[in-house]
Symmetry: C2
Subunit: 191 residues, 2 copies
């Protein structure tokens, strides 16, 4: 793949991510994506087999970036906090990706459900790795299943990040992160 093609695909990813995140995959037209990317419609079909294929590639691309960042948080001192922080950072940087993910991930017979399930597993398994190490170190209370907790943490962070972007954009990332950590470790003691 030439540098030219790579650049074009990147432009298409950026444009598609923005529009699809904002308005949903179904209601965005290929013409709009082409216009946003500053590219002719035909170029899209030269680089991708179909509109669906473009979205699918986009999904893979985004998850790759996220997975990379989450893995990079594995070495930190406070692994869980680093994970949360990294995840919030990713959603802050690619809010449209969060919107895309959230609106497709749980659509049961949806066209991307298969792909998305796999991608979700990628992410959740990384989260599970973090959790597992906490658990082995005895830092997780009894009765909390690592698998369940990982899936829940991922989903929770996703919606909290979206809620942050949309309804409370004035809050800082550190502030939100601290709130999350409070909730994750906090609501318990008082009961």
């Amino acid at each position: 793949m030439s540098a030219r093609t790579t650049a074009t695909k990147q432009k298409l990813f950026d444009a598609a991510l923005k529009l699809v995140g904002e308005r949903g995959a179904a209601s965005v037209t290929v013409d709009e994506i082409a216009a946003e990317a500053g590219v002719a419609k035909g170029t899209i079909y030269y680089n991708f087999a179909s509109k669906d294929a473009l979205v699918e590639a986009l999904l893979h691309h985004g998850v790759e970036i996220l997975a990379g960042r989450l893995r990079s948080a594995e070495g930190s001192e406070d692994s869980l906090e680093a994970l949360v922080d990294e995840m919030l950072g990713f959603w802050a940087e690619y809010p449209a990706f969060g919107q895309l993910l959230v609106s497709e991930l749980w659509r049961t017979p949806g066209q991307w459900h298969g792909t998305l399930s796999l991608l979700r597993d990628d992410i959740v398994s990384i989260v599970r790795g973090h959790m597992k190490r906490l658990s082995d170190a005895g830092r997780l209370p009894d009765g909390v299943e690592v698998g369940t907790a990982s899936a829940a943490l991922f989903g929770t962070l996703l919606v909290i990040a979206l809620d942050w972007q949309v309804f409370q954009p004035e809050r800082s990332r550190a502030e939100v992160r601290d709130s999350v950590m409070h909730l994750v470790r906090g609501l318990g003691p008082a009961r």
Copy 2:
């Protein structure tokens, strides 16, 4: 409004909820909704001004039901657990509504965003009522803002419920509820 009309609207709500939840508002056709409801297409346009108006009415309808249930949980002994349970029950009963909500709620300039923000506020304020009472009773740890926690709890329950329906349908509602309560009160102590 006659009983006949009410019945027709109910059929349309059921049909629209199912289809729109599964496949998204944009990609469902009015003809499909009519067929699913066993009603002529013209009937839809007799009862609603447009496809969008139907979806909007659907949103209001669903939120009314949810709000009613959450309010009914206010008298319980363990108010928070009752709230969680009631909410999980609602999402279990109307999974398509959860899918619809989650895929539209955070779509920033989306056509439903205004309506949905108001509806979200309705629900979150009920949750906040529950939390406030906990807080006044000194059962919430310091540093947890009631507003933030309420929004987070609502969003979290929404995604956990969806994840449950889609990826772990074999788990019982009580099981999920206990997991949530564990997470809400549990991850803290061990750190």
